[in-house]
Subunit: 461 residues, 4 copies
């Protein structure tokens, strides 16, 4: 007696409902040509629960068979045909002006709602409707790269998902070698930061006594995690990723550990972009681990710097940029050398200039909203962490070189400061960093723009 | 690592947040006089997650200490001060008229939303916020008996609860003697139809092999059921409640049963009135039981007639009413006799007139919306059941005599017809009944009003 | 798919096997007169698994219907007819003398085994056979009060149970208000030390945050605990039971507790007498609680003195006994007064003499094996605890007065000393006690007898 | 709070006990040279629970480090030094002859028991002692191939394991893709009949809707299965293994299946050889599957014939053997051809002779005990199955050709006959086979020896 059983039941009911739909509404000759849009109109007008469920299921099944072209057409229909109804809005405005009351305001509220929202709510009645809608939004996000005008449709998805994936419904689970294979294969699939190659590799991440993995789940997406974090227990703040992932390392007795390192945080559902859980995940995992190992004193990440390479290239390309001294600019030219990462002399020479550039990147690099350029920094600073240390070279894998010339950083979660930092960042965008970082950063040229409400950023550790 | 653990964590975070609030915002001299309304305004304007959680918790804690007078005052504040903002609506209308677009429609939509809705959403962030809001609505419903003008506040609660208590998040659990005591004590407490007196009585309801009990749970209300149903497995459709509840009855071997009788359905959360789960519960339980006992062929209720006594009194008091023949009217006068239920001759004489009156009550008794007067009939007919049989005398307990002169009825859930009936009832309000019932009903005098969208009714079996 | 399902399956198999037995072996005319003993002989000689299971089940079913007389007769049959087979023993001895080898020794070993043991092993094949055999031994123990000659039968039960209830198969479970009602009702039933009156009383024992209850379970006795312990978290070592059981007491915040008090330990299965789990239970619970509340420093019992009244009466009745001084003897006469426990003056006067007598009782009272008379003392001292403190008056309930004139004691489990004490007690019977107790005890008159292997004693807290 | 926690606790206790042992008993100079045998003697003489546990753990740890030579020496010590004590046996015989009583018989029984048994019981007290002893017996079985004289040691292991792995303690679990990875990796490891190559291969065995896998577990071997069976749901009795294991086959809708095929049964613990669970496993799985799919009517195996090649070679090598006609003998010579299995003409020609030889092999091939030569036949016929069909060519994999020239057979479990067949086989060794098999078998030359108690055989499907 569980969710999947419930799913079967809904399917049975909707099968019966479908028989009713077919009998009553669908002209057999035109059945095939009937467009998805017309079925959606039907779904919005229909009355009778079984028919709703059946129709919702039918629509999702047909959507599932669409190729890319018709899919875009469908999204355009959602935009143009299932937006707010202008005539009704006008009528409701008229009624409101006739008599300003709770009732007329409420009617106006309802009439201004894009019809898509009610459509999505009804599609959600289908068995596994939530998962189908999350996938639909994935498709939409892909399409939006070239069709930014679809943003209002995306906005309705996001609005509904924020409500459905309310944090109160999230369940934290410890993932280990005793976890079900059906969940573990998703961990392999979703790991976004440091790829997991196979089941042996997975085991090395979750099974040793000095490793932990936690994930958030939601009742509507059974056995499919929303986000997970991988943790290493260590005796010091790590400065490189390789020792953590080393295949034949000797595990540490966790009772001797002093430090919990969050070295990978992966969002699993691209369709839930913008509905953030990472903040809660980290705090809950900190609480969980500190309960299991009361002696741990330090909670820290080992995080990538996904925007550093791009920023540094721009700075180097900009004559007279504020971020680099002339001396550093000269030395950094060695990065253009094909094999700089294998040249010990280059590494030695580059170290200080890179560290200074990195400090400047974090302390002064700002996007249009006045927030740190680095998305991972936005996430952790937004959670109340402190930028604790820059590490170089910390990740000389192709990906690490590509996105950050091998730089990684540690964000520190100090339970005593976390809320104060969070408030400070939310209100003033102040980048809280250790003095060792602050000291070597070059000053920002211009003032940051005025604070605006800070959007939560997607973590990738 | 579970919900209650998560609750603890939120508490810790909000404790820290509270410290921040206290430090920064609250003037110590005026702290105590600061009104709840002002805290609510703060909650709507605040930025920073910990502070939100802390403030939400503070507001709910203060609300909890209110006595009845201040509570009413608080609800009035919610009505008057946290409704839609007229100035903003006007501005948004202006913008819409300036340029009709998705964006201006969406802005208008948001500005018309009563501010209460966002307030409730933020209160929901507090630990156990959902449960607190459900209780708050209970209080509101109590108050509304005398203050119907508070309806818009209630409407906002209901809107949010319908979304939060989405059927996809409900979990069905079999309740039996192996269930946790903390859940079982709630079953004792919430049983609304046939009172459970103590733990022995409870055991007689859920432990014998020919008894089943199922409940729906929601992740935000841990161990607190939303609704539950009690089922007896029998060899025939029962015509009275006493044999089902008899203390020393011999249980039936469930493999010999032919019939599942839903003899009690209780909603547990008064604060969720209007957010219906009963329909899903029954269908899911039918599926569950039929899987366990494939030989069962009949799914039927044994239900009270909560509106019959009142209707009959009115009919009898109305000279020339359509519902009663003159002959029956005369015999029914015996109901005025003090001890009619112990007088065998009276029972014999009353039987046929009562049955005719009951058939007329169900077939023709309509409320202002054109729906059956009887709320239990509205629920089961709305689910697609058929009124199968009238039983008299079926419940001569004081409560049974009081609400229905001892009448009980069976609604039949025939899986093959359930959706067709549901559709018919939803669209035309047709009362589907067995011919034995239809034949003895007197015709309705006036036509029923035109159909309107049918509201789901609360079940009480 | 669980134990009870497995039980059903075995039943099905044995039903089929029974059909075979009936068909082949049982002459219908004599079926009823066929004695249990003959069925037992059949069970020992039969070949074929289904028949074994069926026959075992048949025997246990017939045994279950025996009244007390035939039951005693059955035990006598077990003694006389299912003991070792003398002829076979002689033959096996002969073979051994013919050729001393592993094989002949092994054959001799097998022939000397009472045939009962194999009989019990085969009865254990029946569905729920283990539980049935545990009950059978209960009956046997009752009968043995008057028939001590049945001891060899009991000895075989005990031998097998010790193997089947191997500690490696025991599972510890935390019992609280979330525990299944079917387990909780057994806790009510089995509580042996301080009676639990009803479900509310039970809740007061297991639900408050400063109370804990743990039980051992075995897979063959599903949902039926073997032994359980009740624990109170306090701020000091308690000196009386009433405050712990007080109905309206305010619970202590467990994080402020310093002391875990084991105030009740109940063996549940009388049929498992002599198969001790208590030692393991206490150690495991100490480990469990200290993990949950690392700040706790003191683990102590509040235990009855079940043998004190009897010992004191004997001492008082013995002129010139070593245990009492003349002065104390005179004062202790007040205990003969009907209402001494309500007479404040008596209580004041009695206190010191009682304490001296109690100290003497514990330090010098010895049974024939040289062990402490007090069975609870044997249990806790045998586990490595120390007699920490005498408390008087600590339990003036009728039972407390009756068995110990109101005395209770604390045994202290000091994790650093527990094994050393255990070894000392096991080897020399040394009663480890706090100096405050030792100082006021009167010296023993005679030396204790030489140490023998110490039998574990049954706990009752 | 689970077994592994309990394990930790025992470890803690035994750590303390070890400290005591070290302090008191072990002369530091000779500690290292102290032999395992002497520690075993200590364990048998020691008193005090913690010391026992510590010593048991020490012995198992030291044993674990032994290389093959010392290991054999240790087994010899177990044989020679820890057998029955001759002096004590003589004394006990004397006492028995002095007075024949329950007590003297019981004493004799105890003195004849090899001292190893008590030693093993005490070793079982160590954390994970059971698993260590199972592994120790594996080693012993390996050694016994060359040292059959160690049989008495093995016999003691087997005796104790039969008691500890009592069927009442076995738990059946459905193994599927939702099962924990730690269990699944053991399924990959232990599969003995048709190798599982990797996790994808495993998934193809357990995840499709027409596949099932069930395993027995025991509480003392957490997450380590004892035996498991793989089942395919099909529409007919299969005649070859390849279609069942085909990588890209389309799964069958299980509701359309008519037949459950047990195509692989693997014992996991070599150390438990002779302690059979297979019989129970199959019966329980039949009951489980028939509950899930009531429409299934046929329960059948697809089993290897591990002894057929060897038997056939012997028959062919024996001039005038009874098992083969001259004509068949001539044709069967084609089997000596290198690539007979790829030569379609050879396959066609060989078919009938092979089928006749196979029928003769099953119907008349007997071992010294008069039982079928084929161990798989012994297992299934002993369980009450019927030899239903011979299939050729059914498994032309290298292994299949090697052990059975490609032959596989079906055993049919007919619930109505299973017990009757079982009894018949147990009592008369009658091979129950379908008439199609019986008809083509050649008659046995000599009568089978008289029946003896049938030993259960190890299954390998």
């Amino acid at each position: 007696m569980n969710t999947s059983f419930f799913g079967e039941l809904l399917q049975t009911i909707s099968d019966r409902g479908r028989a009713l739909i077919d009998r009553r509404r669908v002209d057999p000759d035109t059945a095939h040509s009937e467009s998805l849009a017309e079925l959606c109109e039907q779904l919005l007008s229909i009355r009778g629960e079984a028919s709703e469920v059946a129709l919702a299921r039918e629509i999702l099944a047909r959507y599932d068979e669409l190729t890319i072209g018709p899919r875009i057409a469908f999204f355009e229909t959602l935009l143009l045909r299932f937006g707010p109804d202008r005539t009704r809005i006008e009528k409701a405005i008229e009624a409101w002006h006739g008599s300003q009351s709770e009732e007329t305001a409420s009617a106006l509220h309802m009439q201004c709602e894009p019809r898509r929202q009610e459509l999505f709510r009804r599609l959600n009645l289908a068995p596994q409707g939530t998962a189908a809608l999350v996938r639909m939004r994935e498709h939409l996000l892909d399409v939006m790269v070239r069709r930014p005008e679809l943003a209002p449709v995306d906005s309705d998805f996001r609005h509904l998902f924020a409500s459905w994936f309310n944090r109160g419904f999230l369940v934290l689970r410890h993932i280990d070698w005793a976890t079900s294979a059906s969940v573990l294969e998703k961990i392999i699939l979703y790991e976004a930061v440091h790829q997991i190659h196979d089941w042996n590799d997975l085991r090395a991440r979750i099974d040793p006594p000095d490793r932990r993995c936690y994930a958030f789940f939601h009742p509507a997406l059974v056995d499919d995690p929303l986000i997970f974090v991988q943790v290493a227990l260590t005796r010091e703040i790590p400065s490189a990723i390789a020792p953590i992932l080393a295949p034949n390392r000797v595990p540490l007795d966790p009772d001797r550990a002093t430090t919990a390192v969050f070295y990978s945080i992966s969002n699993c559902q691209r369709g839930l972009a913008g509905v953030t859980f990472g903040n809660f995940l980290i705090k809950q995992v900190v609480a969980e681990i500190s309960r299991e190992f009361p002696r741990l004193g330090t909670y820290v990440t080992l995080s990538p710097s996904p925007g550093f390479s791009k920023w540094l290239k721009t700075e180097r390309a900009t004559i007279d940029s504020a971020g680099l001294s002339e001396g550093d600019r000269t030395i950094l030219a060695r990065l253009d050398q094909d094999d700089w990462w294998t040249d010990q002399a280059a590494l030695t020479e580059l170290r200080d200039p890179i560290m200074r550039a990195a400090a400047t990147y974090y302390m002064t690099g700002r996007d249009r909203r006045g927030l740190p350029i680095d998305p991972v920094a936005r996430f952790h600073l937004g959670n109340g962490a402190r930028l604790e240390r820059l590490n170089w070279p910390a990740d000389l894998s192709p990906r690490g070189r590509d996105q950050s010339y091998g730089l990684m950083v540690n964000y520190l979660y100090d339970l005593g400061d976390i809320e104060k930092n969070h408030e400070a960042f939310a209100e003033t965008r102040a980048v809280i960093a250790a003095s060792a970082v602050r000291k070597i950063a070059r000053p920002a040229r211009a003032a940051a723009p005025a604070p605006a409400k800070v959007e939560p950023a997607a973590p990738s550790a």
